[in-house]
Amino acid sequence: MSESIGLTARHSAPAVHAAAGRPLLELRDLDTDIALRRGTVHALDGISLDVAPGQTLGVVGESGSGKTMTALSIMGLLPSGGRVTGGQILFEGRDLRSLPADEVRRIRGVRMGMVFQDPLTSLNPTIRIGAQVAEPLRVHKRVGRAEARDRAIQILRRVGMPRPERIVDNYPHELSGGMRQRVAIAMALVCSPSLLIADEPTTALDVTTQRQILELIDDLREEFGMAVILVTHDLGVIAGRADRVAVMYAGRVVETAATEQLFHAPRHRYTEALMRALPESAIRDSGGHDRLISIPGLPPDLSGPLTGCRFAARCSYVSDECRTTDPSLIPGTHQHACLHPVPTPAGAVTGPAGAVTGPARARVEPAAEPTRVEPAAKPVTAAPAEVTELPVLSVRNLVKDYPVHGRGLLRRAAGQVSAVADVSFEVRAGETFGLVGESGCGKSTVGRLSVGLERPSAGQIVLDGTDLTDLTGRERRRMHRQVQLMFQDSYAAMNPRMRVDAILAEPLEIQKVGDSSARQARIATLLDQVGLSRRALERYPHEFSGGQLQRIGLARSLALHPRLIVGDEPVSALDVSIQAQVLNLMRDLQRELGLAYIFISHDLSVVDYMADRIGVMYLGKLVEIGPAREVVRAARHPYTQALVDAVPSITPDRVATRDGTTIRGELPSALDPPSGCRFRTRCPRAADICTTEPPLVGGLHQVACHLPLRPEPTGTPTQDQAVG
């Protein structure tokens, strides 16, 4: 190790590693085992990582890769049965595994801080915010009650909490998710640690909030000069924030490099595949026409012995050598453990699976995107007969209010939550209509209303010419054949005590379709359609992985030959590689069966890839609706633009260029929505006129804004059906 001081500046990436003096934290060949009922799982196998002071290390990987276990091993918070079995955890050169327990506790408590994913479960609901934030001080520094409170207020102010002197006396449930995560960060920072470990700190948050929190962590890192380990599954989050990135797979670090280097020229085939599996990449490469490049199969089971490269079974570049030799990280600034790495950009850039985008191209492309994409040129909707058909679903002036009961014996209605306010749209056969917005915007309610799970307060839902709200009894039951719901968490949407055959037979039984042999035949067809083997029939939901469950969920939705499937965040719980499989499957089935989808998601890049048209919702209102490419590339509503800007991207250069349109603050309460334009309280362009409600106007690309960002592009063919 050199003697130079370990101060590193961001964006001097290649120099960072060489100049880094003594790392703050160094993991050497760390092994962690977890003892379970069915055997011991080797969660981490020889992890070596280091973080210099002031540096951000991104640890990225899919679920089961061991990224969280790495963080927990460092903090000594392994779940029961978990144990570090080998290697060293060097903090400022001292091995935490050999220091006395008291000393380790002090180091972990004072010098390190950790932020967890779910800010609701990581805060104690019975303790006031102030006491909770100051707890580390009281425990480790023996600070008095009054001083602790002052320090808590101070630190809460530092993390951007409005009115901290009042917040300290609140309880966690009184705060929004983003605010709770700020509290959790304040808690981690109150002892001024030199290392902050953030484990998926923004996964549970909306994109605009995510952006605020990530920026906050960045600012605090600079202010406190601390090192940050950012653990996430989201390549985009890492791309914008980390100095160095370590990619993990199946308990190993498979590649580590400076961020720019890694994202412009990944070497390991897994990293490459992961990046190509993102919908973002498909849109960049082909405008979203092609199938996503998915990674087949599942990660290996870590409880058994593994030989060779752990990715070999899923790799398209695999050779016999890969199955027998266990590759180790090749030392250098860009380390990777791959026998057939992606060629360096200097050499050839083509591989068997198609061209790997060179760094130069990747950098210029985002700028070229808006002009390159022709909205009309999507093959999915290219079949003209389908487009001109009558809409499958037509929603007119939909309103849904939930009464809020006051306290007390009589529980009089104290007000109404306006979940959906005057929403109109149409979905045509074979079309995908994307519905995006942040949590609480009413997009899921629209989905539930569309499938008839709830009745609207006002408005019409016309399905195939009949108004759903008028139906009763038998007709209503038959209506459910036409439209089906697909859930985010298929495990929760399946009765854990029913076998898959019973789960798939249920819709047929309810609708009294066919006899039992006909049902069996239908179920077999369904399994084939979603690519599962017949053996799945005898199993229970808990025996399947997330992607497989989502296939079963899709099969169940298809059982009744519906014309429309409403997917409520259908891939949000899945890993990138599995997400690609499910999205491909959904597209294939759409083409095969002429299905229409309403695709509800908070993830704009997924909706961008899937949808033909997108509707953007904000606080119960549809603020913008139009062809997918246009809405994303040429947003007309300031809120849409803010959403687009907040989406983390794997093209790091894009992060630097976008600012200005960030929206701040919190979503107003739907109990008392702002008058006029509901977005005006957070809108950077708000003017006096915004106190009156803007109508949704335009031809194909409509917007509900008095001061749209750009006029509707001319030259787009006007279609009468599009104007509801």
Binding site: I34, A43, G64, D199, E506, Q511, S533, H542, E543
Partner: protein, 300 residues
């Protein structure tokens, strides 16, 4: 934070042969030592009570005033005789039969009634829920022992009558429990998914609510049985049990109490210990079942 199952990586379901949920539950149950002890204890007690009389034959109909208060071992009476000359061991077996039959039947009856009413109340909510639960509240507010005594004083106690009386009051507990369970289960996504297919409330209760509450129900049922055995004992102890020559452990305990100071310990301890053992057995079994049902649902 990823959960443990995620960290472990998804299991490939094609590797292992399918194991039924019941099989998995059984494995867990068998890992609980106390549960096995409880099960063994119950089998032993039931075996002795129902099969014992075939081996150890005694006259439990006619009194024999020439052989009262024989100490254990005297004249072939292994546990001695009581104040009217019945063989104590034979009487224990006979009494055990009544206690076990009445306890099991009353427990099962209470569980079935309570589960159905609770599931319906919890799932449908509204006025159905209000009606059922107010009845439960009202009945719960009256001490059950008082009600038992009142009823037992009005009707002549017989085994079926005892089952009905105990069952009529013991369903309150399971009803509340299952209602609570149904309240959470009805908002589960699989119930919503079923509604999205056009399913009705009846199907939801039958196929989704009750099967998923069954773990709680069965665990509770074992405690219900234990409670019912105790109720039989209480009633008999208070002299409101089934009249002689029928016997049960509670009544025997009550009779034995009179002899506490005369040194006839064999009339007091055996029925008392038997009651403790059977109640304990059911509680152990209940604990084991609780584990078994909980683990079954965990993604492993």
């Amino acid at each position: 934070m990823s959960t443990l199952s995620e960290a472990v990586g998804p299991a490939e379901p094609n590797d292992t042969p399918p194991r039924g949920l019941w099989r998995q539950g059984l494995t867990v149950f068998c890992e609980n030592r106390l549960a096995l002890v409880g099960l063994g204890l119950f089998v032993l007690l039931a075996g002795v009570c129902f099969l014992g009389p075939l081996v150890y034959q005694t006259d439990q109909v006619h009194t024999d005033l020439t052989a009262v208060y024989r100490a254990p071992g005297e004249q072939g009476h292994l546990l001695g005789t009581d104040g009217v000359g019945y063989d104590q061991l034979g009487r224990l077996m006979l009494g055990g039969q009544t206690s076990i039959i009445v306890g099991l039947a009353a427990g099962v009856l209470a569980t079935i009634v309570g589960t159905l009413l609770g599931a319906i109340a919890g799932f449908f909510g509204g006025w159905v829920d209000a009606a059922v639960m107010r009845v439960v509240d009202a009945m719960m507010s009256i001490p059950s022992l008082f009600l038992f005594m009142l009823l037992a004083a009005i009707v002549t106690p017989s085994a079926p009558m005892l089952i009905l009386i105990i069952g009529a009051f013991a369903w309150l507990g399971p009803a509340r429990l299952v209602r609570g369970e149904a309240l959470t289960l009805r908002s589960r996504e699989y119930v919503q998914a079923m509604r999205g297919m056009g399913g009705t409330g009846g199907r939801a209760v039958r196929r989704h609510i009750i099967p998923n509450a069954i773990g709680t129900v069965i665990v509770n049922a074992t405690f219900q049985v234990a409670d019912a055995i105790l109720y039989v004992a209480y009633l008999s102890f208070l002299g409101l049990g089934i009249p002689p020559p029928a016997a049960n452990w509670g009544g025997m305990l009550s009779d034995g109490l009179a002899d506490t100071y005369s040194g006839h310990w064999w009339l007091l301890y055996p029925p008392g210990i038997a009651i403790i053992l059977i109640v304990l057995a059911f509680n152990f079994i209940g604990d084991g079942l609780r584990d078994a049902f909980e683990v079954r649902l965990r993604r492993r």
